[in-house]
Each structure stands twice: as C-alpha cells, then as structure tokens.
C-alpha cells in the first residue's frame, strides 16, 4: 500500500528469547467475574483519585467510584455491578509491596451496565473530548499509565504535532497483549488513531510493530485499506529489545533522536500505545470507561493466553483460569526485563498490568551471586540510551549522586539490557533505581528546605518590624506631641 519508509537504528539493544508464541495460540479469552474485586484508587501517574462511593453502596458496571483530583489524574470506575464492601488500605500491585486505598467490590453476578451511550465526538470540542477521556479513566496502557487527556493537550503554538506514532512494538519477552489487540481489533485501533490525529492536528500516522508479529502487521494493513484511512503507515521495525521504548521507536521510525530533558512533542511527535488508542475509541465511540484490559497470562501455566480482565480481578484468580502448574512460587507483573515480582497473589489487576508471568525456579532460576565489575563495557555496548552503565554503577554504588547526574543517570530507561549482558551478573538497574530515588528525594528535600528558609527569614523580619513599631509607638506615647501645647493654651484662653 505504502512505499517502505527508510528505517533508522538506535544504539545497542539485545536479543533475548521472546517466549511469545505460547500465549498467541488462542484468541483473547474473557476472564470470569471473580468473587471479589480489589480496585485501587491509585492506578495512574499523578494524583490519586478520590473515592466518591460509600461502603455498602450498590454500584453499576462502569459507574465512577473515584474522582480525578488535580491536573494529572484520572477517574476510577466499578468494573462490574455489585456492592462496595470496603474502602480500606490493601496491598496493591506495586514493587514496594505497600498498602494503598482500595475499594473492595463484591459482584452481584448481574454485570449490569450504568446508562451509557456513544458520544457524539465529531461535534465535540477538543476540551470536551479531553474531559470525557479524563472522566472515562483512559490512561496509557503501555505501562506508564500516564493520563491520555494530558498527552492530548500539548498541541499548542510551541508544540505543533505533525506525526502521531502508535507503539505496537511490544519488545519485551513473554508479553503479547498488544499483539493480540492488533490482530483482533485492528479497525477499532485505527478509528481511535483517527480521533487522536484529529485532536493533535497531526498529518501522518506511523504504526511501529516489530517484525516478529506478521499477523498484527497484516491485520492493521488490511484494516487501513478497508477503512480507507489516508496517510497511515504500518511499519515493520526490526525485533530488538528495547525497540518499544518511546525514544527508541521514534528514532527507528523517524531518525529523530530526542535529547535528554526534551520530549517528543518538542519535535512534532507524539506517541501512543496501540491499546491506549483502542481504549480512547472505546471511551468515545461506545461511551464505555476503562474497566477492563487485555492481560497476557503466561509462564508456568498449563495454557498461556491473553484475557480481557476486569480491573481489580485478583491475580491468583486470573492465573488459575490459565491453570497454574504446581511448582509456581511467585508472579511477575510486566515482563521479565522490566517487571517486578508481585508482593502477594491477592492483589488486583490494575491499568498497568499488561502481563502476568507465573514464575518457577525452573523458568527463572535465582540469579547467581554478583561478581565484581571487570569494566568490560559490554553494558555500554548494549545501552539504548548511549550511557556508560559501568560508570553509573560505580557512582550509584558509592552514592556519588552528583557524578551520576552528570553522567545522565536520568536518561536511563531501566530496560535491563545491561543486566542481561553483564558477565559478572551485577543487578545494575537496581543500583540505578536506587540512585534515582535518592536524587529525587534529595531534590524534594532541598525544595522543602528552601521554603522553610524563606518562611523562617520572613518570620524573623516580621518580628523585628513588630518590635520596631512597638518601640516607635511607645516613644510616641511617652513624649507628648508639641502640637498639643497650643490646644492647652486655647483652653486657658477659654
């Protein structure tokens, strides 16, 4: 259909075994409604949503239970009809294993929808559409869960977007949820892409898909032809990890290297995950909020498969549907490269849960003890951000954060390619994450200290001023003003 675009390359990258075939053998299945749903109010980047339901209240499927607060926030909805049995702190799907505010929803089995209708989005203003997306709880489903409405509001005079890039690369091993969405829902994805293109006033759409997904590429190409979409290019990009990283994919597709401290929008590019675009279409064309997502259930299970899972479904229940094999010892959310081990198997599926891998000692043997760094610089050879991981490791390990910042630690995308090739098996990314966290905390504390200093100094000067004013008043009272003399003279005269 389209002439092949010239492709570019990013630095480094690795070729880990993909393990994708096992979960693409079956179409997307519908996960069962579980006995209870645990829905956290913190499922997106930005501010937590504020609960707007009471314990004991009956809610309908798609009813908003969490109101977005502040600019960067998103709504939370009930995934099915039922009763809110608790609003309390529960362990959530987060690497910290900490507790956060969750709603426990006991489904009544009726799965009764709240009144909803397709929105007449062609006649709506851009602001109205953005508001609708915010209230529909649509966030980026590639993993970062950044509210989509915020990303759609950057098309101002300074940031003219000319190209919309859809990310269907899905480079991380095991994960196939985007692949299956593209295979089965290609037309909807393209309709969503048209909506986004209209909002951003972009001209071109580039869809980047790794060439190990020929069926997804074919499905999208066919849908583009059938839907008579103009200026959409479905591009097969080389399979290399982490080719699905935003900056990496943009580089491959456009040749533009987005520098540190700058965003793709500064170069007229905006990137959305294919599943996000699908959800945008669903929110506007069907009026359905984000209450379910496609989750790859794979690893140590009898039958790996993708499921459409209601948000809040306990991880154990969804994996049980795929058949847990007996030697499973833990569950990984996300992929083996960038994912994390879930604190318990009772946590609810959240908007960021693209994949759940049942882990066994055979599939993921415990890492051998780390050996000293021999400065072989194999990590630098594979680093997609063109950093010097061996130096960053040194600085992070010795807590030399200033130097780490100077070596552009914050350009690290934590892809784990350096870990993968390290002959000493050093968990490098763990050190980078530690250093990033410490630097962020230090910055925050510095900002707090600066306000405290200002307040202290203001208070000090205020007290000084009050003292002076008091002294001046006292002086005025003790020494009667000379103007009073003539008055007494007048009195005498009277």
């Amino acid at each position: 259909m389209n002439a092949p675009l010239p492709l570019h390359k990013f630095h480094g990258g690795i070729h880990p075994p993909t393990h994708k075939a096992q979960s693409t053998q079956h179409p997307i299945g519908q996960a069962k409604i579980p006995a209870q749903l645990i829905i956290p109010f913190y499922q997106h980047a930005g501010n937590q949503a504020k609960p707007i339901v009471a314990v004991g209240e009956r809610v309908l499927k798609g009813q908003m239970i969490g109101m977005p607060q502040g600019h960067i926030s998103s709504a939370i909805h009930a995934s099915t009809s039922g009763t809110i049995s608790a609003l309390d702190m529960q362990t959530i799907a987060h690497p910290s294993g900490l507790q956060d505010l969750c709603a426990t929803l006991l489904p009544d089995g009726l799965d009764e929808w709240i009144a909803h209708a397709p929105l007449d989005y062609p006649t709506m203003t851009a602001d109205e559409i953005r508001h609708a997306l915010r209230m529909a709880g649509v966030v980026g489903l590639g993993g970062a869960t950044f509210p989509s409405d915020v990303k759609l509001s950057r098309s101002d005079a300074k940031h003219v977007i000319h190209t919309l890039v859809l990310n269907g690369a899905e480079c991380e091993p095991y994960i196939t949820c985007d692949d299956m969405v593209m295979r089965e829902r290609a037309a909807e994805i393209l309709n969503g892409a048209e909506i986004v293109r209209g909002l951003l006033r972009a001209e071109k759409i580039l869809i980047g898909i790794e060439d190990n997904k020929p069926q997804a590429i074919a499905a999208l190409q066919q849908a583009a032809m059938q839907g008579a979409h103009q200026n959409i290019h479905v591009v097969a990009v080389p399979t290399i990890y982490p080719g699905g990283g935003e900056k990496q994919l943009l580089r491959v597709l456009t040749g533009i290297e987005v520098p540190a401290h700058q965003r793709p929008t500064d170069f007229g590019l905006q990137c959305f995950n294919v599943a996000t675009v699908y959800q945008i279409w669903r929110a506007l064309a069907l009026g359905e909020p984000l209450i379910s997502r496609i989750v790859t259930v794979t690893g140590n299970v009898r039958q790996a498969q993708n499921y459409e899972v209601l948000l809040g479904t306990p991880v154990l229940e969804i994996v049980a549907q795929a058949g847990i094999l007996p030697d499973t010892h833990s569950y990984i959310m996300g992929g083996p490269m960038m994912g994390f081990t879930l604190p318990t198997d009772a946590v609810g599926v959240i908007k960021a849960s693209n994949c759940i891998i049942a882990a066994s000692a055979k599939l993921f043997p415990p890492p051998p003890p780390a050996m000293p760094c021999i400065r072989c610089t194999r990590c630098a050879d594979v680093c997609p951000a063109e950093l010097q991981p061996q130096d960053l490791f040194w600085f992070a390990k010795s807590k030399n954060f200033e130097q780490a910042k100077k070596y552009n630690l914050f350009d690290c995308i934590e892809c784990g390619a350096c870990n993968y090739v390290c002959p000493s098996q050093i968990p490098l990314v763990q050190y980078y994450r530690f250093a990033k966290g410490e630097i962020r905390t230090q910055n925050k504390e510095q900002a707090n200290a600066d306000t405290a200093r200002q307040r202290f100094e203001f208070r000090f000067s205020r007290i000084e001023r009050e003292k002076q004013e008091k002294a001046a008043k006292l002086a005025a009272r003790e020494k009667p003003a000379p103007t009073e003399l003539p008055i007494s003279d007048k009195v005498n005269e009277l």
Binding site: Q430, Y431, F434, K436, R455, F456
Partner: protein, 187 residues
Amino acid sequence: MLTALFVMSGIALVLGAVLGFAALKFKVGGNPLIEKIDAILPQTQCGQCTFPGCKPYATAIAEGRADINQCPPGGEEGIRKLADLLGVDFKPFGENAAPAVKSVAFIDESTCIGCTLCIQACPVDAITGAAKQMHTIISAECTGCVLCVAPCPVDCISMITIEEKVNTWKWKYPVFPIAPINPAARP
C-alpha cells in the same frame, strides 16, 4: 629613562584605578561561605545544634565556633556535604546527636485551649490559630523541629512519624544475602 618611569607609573595608576573601581563595583556583601553552608543545612530551624536556627549555626561554622556534626536532621549526608565544602574530614555524629526519623507535629484539637504558645514557638509559621481558638498544624510546612511540643501547657501536641507511602517509596540500596561458605571447601 624618564619616559620609562612615566610609562610605568602611568600603567600603575591606570591599573590601580581599575582595581579600585572593581573592588567597589563587585564588592561581595557578607561572608559568601555562610550562604553556602546555609544552603546545605536542612532548614528545620530546630535548634538541635544549640544555635537558634540554621543561619546562626552556619555563621558559627564559618567562624570556626561550631563543628560540622551538630545537625541531626541533616543526617550523615549533610555532614559529608559540609566536609566537602569546607575541605575537612568527615566526622560522625556525637553520642547525644543522632539523626531522628522524619516526623510532623500533630495537635489534638479537642484538647487544645488556644493559648498561642506553640504559634510563637514555631520557627516557620506552620501553625495557624488565634487566642482562645483551636490551633492546627499546616503539615506541608512543618519541618518536624519539635520546638512546639515543650511550650504546650496541656500536652496536646505529638510528633507523628512520616510513614512511607506508595508515592513516596523509593528503591532501596541493593543488598544481597551472604551465602554461608562451607569451611571444608575453603583452600
């Protein structure tokens, strides 16, 4: 001979005038070292260093009247930064000054009698209220200095430790368990 003398003294005069002008024009007000030290201090204004606030402590360090290890809220990281700045060796905390866990003050509002003593004690104006009216802490501005606790006549102020939440959590320093070595296997 005479020309050379004139030229040399002429140059000396011109350069002297330039230097004199520069000294007036680019005069550094105050001691810049104090500002630099003050920037490192955590600004809790708690007085645990025995000086009435961070700036006085910074002045004392600059004048050599105080040591660099007297600021518990700054932690060991703070001592390290001060040592770097001043070109002295790192010094651990003394026995009576150890870094405490971060906390904020909390007023039990049902017990508060509205005496305003805590408001007067707060170094950063983080307590609101008026005479005979209930007081409360603006927790975002509270530095956790504990200065308000002692003046309270009804003991209604307590310090609450700031717990780690999901949005404040950070990755920990990687620690690996040391595997026991079989003594027989050692060479």
